[in-house]
Symmetry: D2
Subunit: 499 residues, 4 copies
């Protein structure tokens, strides 16, 4: 096994190995898990429904998703359904070390005698750490040895952002080519790290990723970004295994993006800066689901929100919802807090930063790390960074003013807060588990391609979350069902319904 590049490592010879910040945090993490379970009724319902039949028996799931408390409940749900799991985070800052500890130690283990799941994640990984961790979820030699098997790969991926999927695809591509290309000048630092990892891998094995790819029954992908990559692979006929697009379940994209951000954006702003949101002028770039949740949250706190949009339909929605819609250039001098939720790059640039008010705040809740042009800021002449506290940097600019950049321009709801809350993630993750079951148990339904979950499962996810909120669902009478031609138990809407 590769040597771990950094913190506390625990690899007793007979127990599942892991690499986390501190196993002693397991008890604190376990408290959080117990509380989270109460807020994740979808996952708990799946444990109740499938805990005996264990449909995921035999599944070896390589998970790459923020190692948070909520993910811990997901992991233990997958295990309760029969799966084996190895886990890494999909973001260098998003791991909650107590949750990782609880997962590594397990509900019945102790820090001294851990009995949990192999997890490789800690808050504040370097990029080298990160890709080392990602490799660990593909190395199932310990499990294979324990089972007396020879093949040492996973058979499922559960992905967030597509890094795990990308690694397999690139690894196989370079193996087929017989070489890893040299980095070019325009390659990011991160891509260089990936190339190094694969170069090292190719030196060790000429077909490692090819075999892993062949063994995979499929991937379930959490995010817009990852889904986008999957559709690109599929349309280029390069996709190697079937994929379920969890992101576009209604109960994921319309809940996670909108209601999750509504919660975690002000939470992150508060933890990072303690600045009163009320009365402030806030600029929200993008009025998709993320932007809608952001704008609603900030208005709910008494801010005056200005929205920007490239799509005239969403722009018109923003106007009809009572928001000023303007270009960043038109209002940059008036704004106190900048929020970017577009999914595009270079949305907030140094030319804007130089015009901002003193101590204006920049917060990214989109997906791509480069929504804020941090690369340009880092090389801006005369710009000086002063760390106020972790994930909060004051940048003193040649304008004579400072700005506050949260989480180094990365997702601040993860870096400055704790990400989406459990109830939201219960929706997303119940989709994930159902998607894992679909791909693993019914491979005949899913030839290589990208799928969304059938609407009745999407509706099921919602249904599993109603009781916890005291929602009474109305039931169609047989006559009403016949009248509108909709089954009493659903699905209730056509696929293209917009909610």
């Amino acid at each position: 096994m590769t040597v771990a590049p950094s913190p506390v490592s625990t690899a007793p010879s007979l127990a599942p190995i892991f690499k986390i910040a501190n196993p002693q945090l397991a008890e604190a993490g376990r408290h959080q898990l117990r509380l989270a379970e109460n807020e994740m009724p979808g996952l708990m319902a799946l444990r109740a429904e499938f805990g005996e039949s264990k449909p995921l028996t035999g599944a070896r799931i390589a998970g790459s998703l923020h190692m948070t408390v909520q993910t811990a409940v997901l992991i233990e749900t997958l295990v309760a359904l029969g799966a084996q799991v190895r886990w890494a985070s999909c973001n260098i800052f998003s791991t909650q070390d107590d949750a990782a500890a609880a997962i590594a130690v397990g509900p019945t283990g102790t820090p001294e005698a851990p009995a949990g799941v192999p997890v490789f994640a800690w808050k504040g990984e370097s990029l080298e750490d990160y890709w080392w961790c990602t490799q660990q979820i593909f190395d199932w030699s310990i499990e294979a040895a324990a089972a007396g098997e020879t093949w040492t790969g996973p058979n499922m991926i559960l992905d967030d952002g597509g890094d795990a999927t990308m690694l397999v695809h690139k690894g196989r591509e370079f193996e087929l080519a017989g070489a890893v290309p040299e980095a070019t000048a325009s390659d990011s630092h991160e891509y260089r790290v990936v190339l190094d990892v694969l170069r090292h891998s190719l030196a060790e094995s000429s077909n490692r990723w090819t075999e892993i790819a062949a063994g995979l029954a499929g991937v379930t992908e959490e995010t817009t970004t990852g889904v986008h990559r999957l559709y690109e692979l599929a349309s280029a006929h390069e996709l190697l295994f079937p994929a379920i697009n969890v992101n576009d379940s209604v109960t994921k994209s319309k809940f996670d993006n909108k209601y999750g951000i509504r919660h975690s954006l002000p939470d992150g702003l508060n933890r990072a800066t303690d600045v009163l949101i009320g009365g402030k002028v806030v600029f929200v770039a993008g009025y998709g689901d993320v932007g809608k949740g952001a704008a609603e949250a900030l208005r709910g706190q008494g801010a005056r929100v200005i929205v920007s949009e490239i799509d005239p339909i969403n722009a018109l929605q923003a106007a009809m919802d009572g928001f000023q819609v303007a270009r960043l250039e038109s209002v940059v001098e008036q704004v106190d807090i900048f929020v970017s939720g577009t999914g595009n790059f270079n949305v907030i640039r140094t030319e804007h930063m130089l015009k901002m008010k003193h101590l204006a705040i920049i917060a990214n809740v989109g997906h791509f790390d480069n929504e804020i042009d941090m690369a340009a800021l880092e090389i801006l002449e005369g710009a000086v960074r002063v760390e106020i506290k972790p994930q909060v940097d004051e940048w003193r600019l040649p304008s004579g003013r400072s700005i506050l950049v949260l989480s180094e321009g990365r997702l601040m709801n993860l870096g400055n807060a704790t990400g989406h809350p459990s109830f939201v993630m219960s929706n997303s993750f119940t989709n994930q588990v159902l998607a894992q079951i679909e791909l693993y148990c019914y491979p005949e339904k899913y030839p290589v391609g990208v799928y969304v979950l059938p609407k009745h499962l999407d509706e099921k996810v919602a249904r599993l979350h109603l009781d916890a909120l005291g929602v009474e669902l109305t039931v169609l009478s047989p006559e009403q069902s016949a009248y509108i031609g909709v089954p009493i138990d659903g699905p209730y809407k056509v696929d293209q319904y917009r909610y």
Copy 2:
């Protein structure tokens, strides 16, 4: 020509005939049209764009859509684009008589020398009137005579709710069968009227509707209901001509339903009852776009809103938006105002009415007239109706309490208010005009079937409405466009995007 069954008729031998309440209302109507034009920038932009090229030259459009001020601007836009038009309302209560007069008289005419469009509509038609009016839009003998043509049918339908389309389909069906069936016990009064109309038609001509059907290049349909019928016809292979589903343009269904109802529901409640909405408990059946708009409007007036839903996804949305979600049965005694926006039937029934508070209000903003079980109320023993004012009835119930039923259970935003406001309808109707152009000018693109407008036209509709609201649209840089793989000018979203 058939003899008109009721009010003021005007049919000078040389002018286009019409039948409306009072041509003297034309000046008042023209004032309203002028104001509405300022609120319908999409239609006015189409007049500017296509007023010279006149792409609808040669189109003979049979229009069946609420004869309101906004429809008047639509009609004059169609005419400005070269079309000939005949018009009926699609609802017996929704005609605004001044708008009808303005259209009949025309911008350059006078009540004495009308020079407008043949329109057959007045507020308060009987069902017999209604279907008589609908027949008039299919009789183009005057226009044919003027043009020296022999064929006397329209070549396009612009429909709302599908009555015009249904008449053609049923007419042809019965002509093929050689007979109109007898009404059965379960047939509604209205369907009996339709059967009578077609029986009379069949007696006059054995192929009138068959020929009309053959001459039609297509229909553009405004509503969920009408679209539903079209898809049913298409899937039964009975659809006779291509159809564009205008309803499912984003700029129609997500604007008209949500923002239109948000405006016109409280407007209708106020005009009908003057009851303070603030502090009241309001029940909103259905949390689709209509229900969302209703709930937002009522909360915005300080009401406490309780929502009901059959779909767990929409139910969860309602809960996440902060609304109590309950079955009608659970809360009926507490509610002051009942709003139904489901599109289903028998949602509010006499069993509920008997439990309601004294002077509880019942308002239908769904679509089907039978959302409120008026039929059962009308035969409920001991129930007495007292008209408070037009479209507002007190029903004294055997419970010893009264309830207020608006617009006889029909669409109260039309019956008690003036329907959706101009700006909302400008979005819907700009879609209508673009759809008429598509079907009429590009028949090769649309074999018989049901289509939605391509996304770039949907986005165009939105774009034409931004300036009026002072919206500044952000423009993608070429680099950003390339980065996310979206053209600078759109379309910006995949077809299944939910907005």
Copy 3:
């Protein structure tokens, strides 16, 4: 009796006289009254509490307050409590003719045999009509004759805006002076009418108003304006009788102004213009209670609201509530709808009007008729008025654009809608009735001066409105009461508490 200057007059020799638009509207008005009674639980509770003891027996109340449906319920409550009443409206446009008819005819009368209250009010009075009507409420000769009494004045005033009170004070002042002054150049048209009335009165009687003043036990005043006049009279030691400032009851000013306007402003805009409020830019001048209600209502309809303020505290409140706060001059070109609720004069001036967008709407919901500088508009060179419909005027301006002025710049929630709804007015009017009882029954508590109702009565008004809204009030335990030093039954707050 003076000859009435205009419409349908009814003065049968034996019945109480009145002058209204049309007694045949009584049945329609009675329907409205019945519905309103259900929405005015405070007044109905007073009828239940005091209907037997009739504490107002002997009171002769001269009422000057908008003759609406709600006022009709107030009048019949006063009568139920034993009072005799004569009534005029306090605004030339605000009378609802059906309500006036119902009051004049009475619950047991018929248009042919009226048995109601002497009421002198119709929609669309001239100023001469108005002041003639106001005089009628001071002439109780019919009632005196019926009772065999010689003195023919009222003993109480119930006033709105202070016109009735002013007439008495001015009348007495001029009688003492022995002459009515000539009008000066700066006197308004209305004040000239008042001077004429009093000049005529003085010619008839040298001590009419002096005697009336002497006979008055007090006045209860409804509005900010009227209260302001009362405090001025009191501080100048010119107040002639005790006054209760009903306006400053919490259940009046914080309810009527805020929640009443929240309801009736959008209602008036809708009835007047049918313009979609959603997406519009609305300017609200003043962020007192009226402005707060206006801003909340418009935001609730999806408008973007910009507020102006002169008071830094209220300005800061507006900002903290998420509104842009700007001077009219800074934003006039962007605004679609202008709402004035300041209580000051010349807030919206022709210099602003000339910069407004085409068909911008101007709506006054403040109090003074001159909030909009209509006087300057009327003499603006090149400005042309086109009546769109009653109370809605298009003014074509030399800017080449038009604006829409509602209700000629007067209170549009009365002129274009039906004023505050019943439930709000029930709060105000329950205060009025309690204030009448206080002044009439407990004169010893109120030497000449201006008073607000004691807090326990203010709280009582609120209490009488809770059941109708399903509100459950929490009751202090004796221990809790002792702990915070507040009686279990109230009063709960110190006098200066701000709510």
Copy 4:
């Protein structure tokens, strides 16, 4: 000098002593102070206005107020205006140790060579610590020695909650009586500590507090609670020195309570529990300013809010704002989060807790620590407390369910979050500084009694906060000023105006 009972102490012989958690936190605290200064424009404006004239020269202010970042900016403002200051916190949990360190070390000092203000406060004091700290702000012997003076007391108090004021009054009372009474069975643990402190003091000196009281020019009090005590003292003629009630400045009570809680309640909930607020049922006890802010914040996050009230006026306001108003008993089983903001005691009791849902959350944002009946919970048979993390306790109840109690029932916005944000506190503290100036510089205006700041100063506080929010204030024209009788520069409202 008394020996400090606990943590890191620093008392170099020549420097001002202090006692805080860790002086090494000074740099981190200084960063926070710099950011806070940008959010506290009122205080910074006072430094600009009075930094040269130094009106507080000679003032020795004994401060007892939460030792937070914001208070640090207040302290340094007082110093900039010439005052000497000694400081303790007014709450055992609310100290932010980095802020205390920054104050102790001073802007020009270092942890090794501190040059700041004597501050005695750390997060997590015992009650014994707390009252020891409070004593330190009254012992000015070091300052007196440095100044060559003999009298060693302060001449001003700046108080929050009245503890400092109470200590002086009780100390003097017992000195006059010659004895400190024995604690009785009903005395709280805290009062017993106070008695011990004063008993010890009396043993050392028979007139210490009597002399301190005599030397005090006055107190400015921050809170409702403290103000309540002051009015009680005044009405019992026991108040020893003049007091300014800062709490009832509009810019304090209507801002701090409402907008501060709106910000810090969800912040505290998030930091404590990470529970999604959206979709939850939240109970808010009390609809005063605190309750209004709480309800608005939670609705803004998508919660369904149920309010309780004892005052019918506030209850009616809650209903008119769209909230269900119910007794706790009626809804306790449905509620997910309980928020208490009443200012009363025993609002949420064990009888309620036993009926709550599993893991229901209890949060106190009122003032009194006993709003939640923690005393009864602590002795409830079968109840077990499990600390989840600091300030978050799970209580396992004999109901078989658990509840989560935040901050041990104390103010959770301080204990679980960081209290009101800087901008809100800038309003409160600008009032404090103006009040200190008034009492210290103009003693002739304030004989012994309790005062609120004159309205023009209240308005000044607001005015100093407008620029930071981009607010443009409208200015009355001379004509408008004359017309409404309000000076152009204010004050704009009568004293009893409710805002």
